[in-house]
């Protein structure tokens, strides 16, 4: 049994223009100790996809499908049941640590609260354990830092506090939504190392939502690429970067500036993807990327591609997987 098994998750948000389809039939699974990355651009549904697991999608969202954590259904579960799972077996880290921490309570006390609540530790025992955790996530002078307020710490240190809080009860699954996006690269490198180290030492699985393919290349075992609410490709990290099968994945990889490209003489020109992500109100009988795809055929516009495995471990929702445009430069954005 998978640690996390999400099947056919669909999330709609009512708006004045009608219900917007944020996630459209998303299925994925996560095994213990695995680091899986949900990647995509803004509006692809990657964050909504994990908020739903925590019951944080807001009261107006309409959700269908199933999400089982260790066999237990999360969607529609009672608040009481969710509370017992959240923080204890499944914890989360968000993008902006400043807005996730209480500004008027010391960081140590905030982490201790988790231990007192879920583990029933006494105040003094919780304190010792928190100092221990701070040391483990690389916060210097942990005993002094216990009584610091969030505003007295840097962004990188605050994110370490969030991670300490998340791992306090040794969760089996860490949901991380853009955990390093607000941080500088030299700080990001340390946080990514820490996540990898925690996975090694505790066997915790990580579901990492990010838009940064550099971060994915660094840390993920398996990658799920999302576009306009749908999963378009899923593969092991090496296969995805070395041999992308979906046009969107391929174009996304070609759009990232890379270093060292100047040294080889001729400049490598970047290619943007023309057009914008559509806002969907209904699930179209078509590929949602067809409007921007350089090799879209009539079939792509009239029939939704199923999600099928092309090679072992690499699956794609595309009618023409692996194909390349015949004329190079087609669809190159200025």
């Amino acid at each position: 049994m998978s640690l996390l098994d999400v099947r056919d998750l669909t999330v709609r948000f009512p708006t004045v223009k009608g219900p917007v389809l944020a996630v459209d039939g998303l299925s994925y699974h996560l095994e213990p100790g695995e680091i899986v990355s949900l990647v995509g651009e803004s509006g692809c549904g990657k964050s909504v996809g994990i908020q739903t697991l925590l019951g944080l999608q807001g009261p107006r969202a309409k959700i269908s499908g199933s999400a089982r954590f260790d066999g237990e259904e999360l969607l529609g579960a009672s608040e009481r049941k969710l509370t017992s799972i959240r923080g204890k077996q499944m914890a989360c880290v968000f993008q902006d640590p400043m807005s996730s921490l209480n500004p008027v309570v010391t960081v140590g006390k905030q982490v201790a609260e988790v231990l007192r609540r879920h583990r029933g530790l006494s105040a003094s025992k919780a304190r010792l354990r928190v100092i221990d955790l701070f040391e483990r996530v690389g916060i210097p002078a942990p005993a002094q830092r216990y009584s610091a307020y969030p505003h007295e710490m840097s962004g990188g240190m605050r994110q370490r506090v969030m991670i300490a809080m998340a791992i306090a009860c040794e969760p089996r699954l860490l949901l991380a939504d853009e955990p390093t996006t607000a941080l500088d690269v030299t700080i990001q490198a340390g946080i990514l190392e820490l996540l990898k180290e925690l996975r090694e030492s505790t066997g915790m699985a990580v579901l990492l939502v990010t838009h940064d393919l550099g971060v994915v290349a660094d840390i993920a075992d398996r990658v799920i690429v999302m576009y306009a609410g749908r999963k378009v490709e899923e593969a092991g990290v090496r296969a995805l970067f070395n041999d992308p099968q979906h046009q969107y994945t391929r174009l996304l990889l070609e759009a990232i500036p890379r270093r060292g490209t100047r040294s080889g003489g001729e400049d490598r020109r970047l290619r943007g993807i023309p057009g914008t992500v559509p806002t969907l109100y209904d699930s179209p009988d078509a590929c949602t990327f067809a409007g921007r795809c350089p090799i879209a055929s009539d079939r792509c516009r009239t029939e939704r591609p199923g999600f099928t495995e092309v090679v072992a471990g690499q699956a794609v929702a595309c009618w023409n997987p692996g194909d390349r445009p015949t004329v190079t430069g087609t669809g190159a954005g200025r």
Binding site: D184, V185, A189, A255, I256, P257, R259, R262, S263, I273
Partner: protein
């Protein structure tokens, strides 16, 4: 501002630029003795992490924040010595593109009015000519002419940034300061905007100071890169040499920390992990500002600030005691 004919006069010359901000907690030394030039028609990248002072340099250059000390000379005119009214009249010559087009465009103005505003403010030409120029500029930045009647909220992030660029260029400036122009955009849109800036710069020949935290983006558009750390420039290097020739330990760490979108390379390459955080600009450390985090710092680094000196390669400058001037040898990190 008319571009001076003399090609020897750089588009921008910054000398000893210093900017202090008074706050309740004390004086923030955001920029500390920064000097550099941007040649005519050159794109110079300015990289650094948060708190490095890179944005403040950009804002001082266009006089949005008047410098505390030092001089800013744009196209032969020392703008930092002028009064506000005079600077205002020269503003057509140097413009800025901001990070977030959603907050830098007036939501109640149409695209036409936003783009034409510099011409209106500076009383350049008549309304009919403004219309013609707006059409030209929209075409240049790759927007259909029908965009002119739209409001910013009707546009996507990428389209909005194209509008900001059109506004920045309509009065034919000789210098454009772009402060993180692609950081708020998705990857697929970012690539198009980077290409647009490169193409427009090549076609129109303005000089550009391109400020970003993204090394790869800077390397892609800029000819030269300045690396800043805690208010000072630590290295100036040709962008093709950023990967291999970076000599300052901070630049090397920065290059090594930025993840490469290639799992095979990313997981095998050697990395320098920095400990600690960027110190507070309220109380920068003595000596080299980087010595607290530097893996190779010596006693001299803790006492004496290093000067930005030429290495063996033309145009390559390094501010590090451990890189001997003229030699270009790298400290063993």
């Amino acid at each position: 501002m008319r571009t001076t004919e003399n090609p020897a006069v750089p588009a921008l010359q910054v000398t000893g630029l210093t900017k202090h901000f008074r706050t309740a907690a004390g004086v923030v030394r955001a920029v500390d003795d920064v000097s550099f030039t941007v040649g005519k028609g050159e794109i110079v990248g300015l990289v650094g992490e948060s708190g490095s002072g890179k944005s403040t340099v950009g804002r001082c250059v266009v006089m949005l924040n008047p410098p505390t000390g030092g001089s800013v000379v744009i196209d032969g005119t020392e703008v930092s010595a002028l009064r506000r009214g005079r600077i205002r009249r020269l503003r057509t010559g140097f413009t800025m593109v901001f990070q977030d087009p959603a907050t830098s465009l007036n939501p109640r103005m149409t695209v036409r009015d936003i783009v034409a505003e510099p011409l209106v403010i500076h009383r350049m030409g008549r309304a009919r000519e403004h219309d013609r120029r707006v059409s030209e500029l929209l075409d240049l930045v790759g927007l259909p002419d029908s965009t002119r009647t739209r409001f910013p909220h009707e546009l996507s992030g990428g389209q909005r940034q194209r509008v900001s660029i059109a506004r920045a260029l309509i009065a034919s400036p000789s210098l454009v300061v772009a402060d993180e122009p692609t950081s708020a955009l998705d990857v697929s849109i970012q690539a198009s905007i980077l290409n647009l800036i490169k193409d427009l710069q090549r076609d129109l020949g303005f000089a550009c100071l391109f400020i970003s935290h993204d090394l790869a983006a800077v390397e892609y558009v800029a000819d030269r890169v300045l690396v800043m750390y805690l208010g000072r420039v630590v290295e100036v290097v040709g962008s093709e040499g950023l990967n291999d020739r970076a000599a300052h330990p901070y630049t090397q760490a920065l290059v090594s920390a930025a993840p490469v979108p290639d799992p095979d390379e990313q997981r095998t390459r050697q990395r320098i992990t920095l400990t600690g955080d960027i110190p507070s600009p309220l109380a920068p450390p003595p000596g080299c500002h980087f010595h607290l985090r530097c893996p190779v710092a010596q006693d001299v680094c803790r006492v004496r600030p290093p000067e930005l000196l030429p290495s063996s390669e033309a145009g390559h400058l390094v501010a590090c005691h451990l890189v001997s001037p003229g030699a270009g040898n790298r400290p063993a990190v």
